[in-house]
């Protein structure tokens, strides 16, 4: 590691200790507000990962560390900021204004402590045994996962608060039998009352967790240095081989204490309203800070403190005077929210309670004695009203005449129609008001045109996500009010979305681009709209993509039924359905590759790619392949690629269903289906998931009773796990649901939109898909199935058909006036015994290099 640059006398240095959520926000604010114009910034963090979304920590097992990162590149764009990771600050000297860390002593002009908090581990015997963990960092979660995969079976979480429940759910997802041990009489005692706690407990138990309340942990039991269980006061020992402590947090204020800075009575670095400590050049923000003696264990107040410090350093007047402590639990399937004065501590306040024990819903509103203002509330089992209620508390706006409507079940209430005042804080994590959101959509210069753009520009919705529905509603209401239509034009030639164009073409019965552009567009099209129209026509008509009327509008790869490579040659990828191939088939592939000099590789999609084919050789290559029984693999099309399979119950000792046969059947059923983007599937023979089905647009996993269907997974640039759509299906039902799902996607998705972002963007998300596909709520089911049946019935192999048609074959030539001369711009070298493309500096001139009359 390089030594710190000597401090330039004219550029003061700001040192930040801790690169967590708040430290990162502080640096961002310093860059945005121009502090780096005058100051150099050095950030020192002791974790090896750059700042990441700790609030979303539990999703680590699902999405991985990279998705959580707040600084994926690991460096700030601003060269005046230096980030040092994996290094702890071990001391502060306020007299000489230096901090000590691995690189030596570093001088500062201003110092910000953003060291966060550490989990509190109660001082019980055995807490250091192997198998004891805390739940705070990526490192902690990696260690827990390793222990779980190394054979731990039973896990116990000490603490039934918000974080304890998150940790417990994570253990459950890792496959552990999980116990929650809580000292108080109910779960989440800080946020909910006894009645709410009881409803919450039933939900948590329904997830398969065992809850022990009124249970005080007295010791961690062990044998040979390893955990074997928990000792409880007044109860039997609880056997466990993994223990996670989640019994609260303690601010990391040790550095400040040792430096002689004042700390709060109950811990935390004492700071004033500007977040300044007792030393004028030292500041503290986030969970390590205690403004007015109070530590805030949430990220939003920390962000606010970061802004205040930067504001102070650039000479602004900002202050931090306390924060909203609203919380919403993100446990899968269990909604819990608590906001404002949830326990009716305000003098004369009244409570409105709605409880439905059968549905597992408990909602309470706390209102002022005149019933006019909302003071707080708690929601268990259904927190959908949270987004609207919380800002009402923060802004103190008048309640509607029947406040109970706000918590009555949807349909009877009018929660989403309550108008918020401009100053209402919509996103508490990032302190974004309704006015900020409308400003982003209304501004002159490059206004936001969607809720996701607002999230990018203002931050609203980017942290816990609980405000997203309200953000979306505000944006849509704004557009509706303006009578403005959001510009979703495909391109300059079509002022409509792909979905609108799809409907227009279907209704108009068009069969060619010329008719479509004449009826609905302007100009002569481009590389965006032409392939889109081509794909829609192919979905609707299932005609040959090289038919004369439409071949010039096909996307590059469709135009030659092969994938173009960097040197202008093509790859050839025959279908190998489900990855199953006969030895004879392999021999043919080998012979063809050898005879045409093609580079051969096993793909990531369980098939074989032959690369480096000259365009004019494609027909001869395919003649051989078709004769041997191969067909197009559509690797070039926005269409079904592969349905990956595992060997399943036929061979595998764990398999419970014949996954290979199903994968082949599905690949044959959906082959050739032109769609907004490519579609991939997978079928695994048991829950071990060797076919990685949940990484696909549709994934099927065998169960003892049938098949579980998962949809909308994605590999690629933004990986997403497919989510469960329906369980334990028989094959017929599975196919019906898949037909509906895929056709629904083909008809309504945007151009080049994979299924994952499509579902994410649908109003109602996966629930909407389930309504259409499983519940048939729109009554579209049979129509979608019929459309798929029509596709299946009219399928023909594109390559076999091309070989039969001289007109189509005519386009596969090197030079229209010299069909026997191969393009001299294409050359190959050799790597590991196979062909490899070689690019030329510029156009190759045959006349000059080879001489007149001998162009070969």
């Amino acid at each position: 590691m390089s030594t710190p640059a000597p401090r330039t006398p004219d550029r003061p240095r700001l040192v930040v200790v801790g690169h967590g959520m708040v430290g990162h926000r502080l640096v961002q604010a310093a860059i945005e507000r121009g502090l780096t114009e005058t100051h150099d910034v050095v950030v020192i963090g002791d974790e090896t990962h750059a700042a990441y979304d700790r609030v979303g920590l539990t999703t680590f097992f699902e999405v991985g560390a990279e998705a959580l990162s707040l600084l994926p590149t690991g460096v700030y764009d601003d060269p005046r900021v230096r980030l040092v990771l994996g290094s702890a600050v071990t001391g502060i000297d306020t007299a000489s204004r230096t901090v000590r860390f691995a690189e030596g002593d570093l001088a500062y002009d201003e110092l910000v402590l953003a060291t966060g908090a550490a989990p509190f581990v109660p001082p019980v015997e055995g807490r250091d045994l192997e198998g004891c963990f805390v739940y705070r960092t990526l490192g902690d979660l990696e260690a827990i996962r390793d222990a779980a995969t190394a054979g731990a079976r039973v896990g116990a979480v000490v603490g039934g608060g918000l974080l304890g429940l998150e940790a417990a759910n994570a253990l459950r997802q890792l496959g552990l039998e999980t116990h929650v041990v809580e000292m108080a009489t109910r779960l989440m005692a800080v946020q909910v009352d006894d009645a709410g706690g009881a409803v919450l407990r039933r939900h948590v138990e329904a997830l398969g967790l065992t809850v022990h309340t009124d249970a005080r942990t007295t010791a961690v039991l062990g044998e040979d240095g390893r955990v074997t269980g928990l000792g409880l006061a007044d109860a039997d020992d609880l056997p466990a081989d993994l223990v996670v402590f989640s019994a609260g947090i303690r601010p990391r204020d040790a550095l400040a204490r040792e430096a002689g800075l004042e700390v709060a009575e109950r811990g935390g670095v004492l700071v004033d309203e500007r977040c300044r400590t007792s030393d004028p050049h030292v500041w503290a923000v986030g969970e390590c800070a205690a403004p007015a003696g109070r530590v805030y264990g949430l990220v939003a107040p920390g962000y606010a403190m970061a802004e205040v410090v930067v504001d102070a350093l650039v000479g602004g007047p900002g202050t931090f005077t306390g924060a909203d402590m609203s919380t919403k639990l993100k446990l899968m399937g269990v909604d819990v929210a608590s906001f404002g004065d949830a326990f009716a501590a305000t003098e004369g306040s009244l409570e409105l309670v709605y409880a439905d024990a059968v549905a597992g819903v408990y909602k309470k509103l706390v209102v002022s004695d005149d019933g006019r203002t909302l003071l707080g509330g708690m929601l268990v089992g259904d927190a959908s009203a949270y987004g609207v209620l919380r800002p009402m508390v923060a802004s103190g706006i008048a309640l509607p005449d029947n406040p109970e409507d706000l918590i009555l079940p949807a349909g009877r209430g009018a929660a989403t129609e309550v108008g918020l005042p401009d100053e209402a804080q919509v996103c508490s994590c990032n302190d974004v008001s309704k006015a900020d959101i409308t400003a982003a959509v209304a501004r002159e210069d490059d206004p936001c045109d969607s809720a996701s753009c607002v999230t990018r520009c203002t931050g609203a919705g980017s942290t816990c996500g609980s405000c997203k529905p309200v953000v979306k509603k505000i944006v849509e209401d704004f557009f509706a009010e303006q009578g403005r239509v959001v510009d979703r034009s495909l391109c300059e030639h079509f002022a409509m979305t792909r979905q609108e164009l799809f409907d227009a073409i279907a209704v108009g019965g068009h069969t060619g681009f010329d008719a479509v552009v004449a009826a609905h567009g302007t100009g002569r099209g481009c590389d965006v709209c032409k392939p889109t129209v081509a794909s829609i026509l192919a979905s609707l008509l299932n005609h040959h993509v090289l038919d004369a009327a439409n071949r010039v509008v096909q996307d590059t790869n469709d135009a030659y039924l092969a994938n173009i490579q960097k040197n202008g040659t093509y790859s050839v990828m025959p279908r190998i359905a489900g990855g199953e191939v006969t030895p004879e088939g392999l021999v043919v592939l080998g012979e063809v590759a050898r005879d045409f000099g093609l580079y051969t590789k096993i793909t990531g999609g369980q098939r074989i790619d032959l690369l480096g084919a000259r365009m004019e050789d494609l027909p001869a290559i395919w003649r051989r392949l078709v004769d041997a029984g191969f067909e197009s693999g559509h690797a070039y099309g926005k269409s079904l690629r592969t349905v990956k399979s595992c060997v399943g119950s036929t061979w595998c000792r764990y398999g419970v269903q014949d996954s290979t046969s199903l994968a082949i059947m599905l690949e044959h059923r959906y082959r050739g289906l032109r769609s907004p983007h490519k579609i991939k599937g997978g079928v695994s023979g048991c829950a071990r998931e060797c076919a990685e089905a949940r990484g696909k647009d549709f994934g099927v996993i065998a169960t003892e009773k049938g098949w579980n269907l998962y949809v909308a997974g994605n590999g690629g640039a933004n990986p997403v796990h497919a989510r469960l759509l329906a369980q334990d299906l028989d094959t017929e039902t599975l196919v019906r649901y898949l037909d509906r799902f895929l056709m629904y996607y083909v008809r309504t998705a945007d151009r080049l939109q994979r299924t994952a972002p499509w579902v994410e963007g649908l109003d109602g998300g996966l629930d909407r898909v389930r309504e259409v596909v499983v519940d048939d709520a729109l009554g579209l089911g049979s129509e979608l199935e019929a459309a798929m049946d029509a596709h299946v019935d009219t399928y023909v192999d594109e390559w076999a058909a091309t070989l039969e048609d001289p007109e189509k074959l005519a386009r596969f030539t090197s030079f229209v006036n010299a069909p026997d001369v191969p393009d001299p711009n294409i050359s190959f070298g050799v790597t590991r015994g196979q062909a490899e493309p070689v690019l030329h500096e510029g156009p190759v001139d045959l006349g000059a290099t080879i001489g007149v009359g001998a162009p070969r």
Binding site: E492, H493, G523, R524, G525, C526, D527, K530, P531, A548, R551, V552, V553, D555, T556, A559, Y560, I564, K566, N567, G568, M615, A810, S814, F815, V816, N817, A818, P819, D820, V821, D823, P824, N825, I826, L839, H840, E841, G842, P843, V844, D845, L846, G847, A848, T849, I850, V852, G853, P855, R856
Partner: protein, 127 residues
């Protein structure tokens, strides 16, 4: 060896008024392209919706692959263009100028249709 080729290669001299017949106009799809060998070089010949014919060097300067004739032909505003099939940069058919990066251009060739036959001449303007 193909007769036409020998002739054109022999007569190759860019910009000197030599015309190489390459194919009947009907051989080029409307809004499509073909590759021709002209003076030893790969030349992309396009036909627009208005039945005008244009010719550009076939090598895409961005990817250095000989592929432009295989791109999609369309319009940007009033300008006829082809999108490179490799990475979709747009080139004006008339001038060879790259519409996404004015510092880049490909050579544009003279081209005409005589009695239904497309003929390519030399590179337009000075090289």
């Amino acid at each position: 060896m193909n007769e036409t080729v020998r002739e054109t290669v022999g007569g190759s001299a860019s910009g000197t008024g030599t015309w190489t017949p390459v194919c009947p106009l009907s051989r080029i799809d409307v809004e499509g392209g073909v590759t021709a060998l002209v003076g030893g070089r790969a030349v992309a010949v396009f036909r627009t919706f208005a039945d005008e014919v244009f010719a550009l060097d076939n090598v895409d300067p961005f990817s250095r692959a000989s592929v432009l004739a295989r791109g999609i032909v369309g319009t940007r505003g009033d300008v006829d263009f082809v999108a490179s099939p490799m990475h979709k940069q747009a080139f004006a058919l008339r001038t060879g100028e790259c519409l996404d990066d004015p510092t880049v251009r490909v050579a544009a060739y003279d081209v005409r249709v005589v009695d239904g036959t497309v003929e390519v001449g030399g590179v337009r303007g000075a090289r």
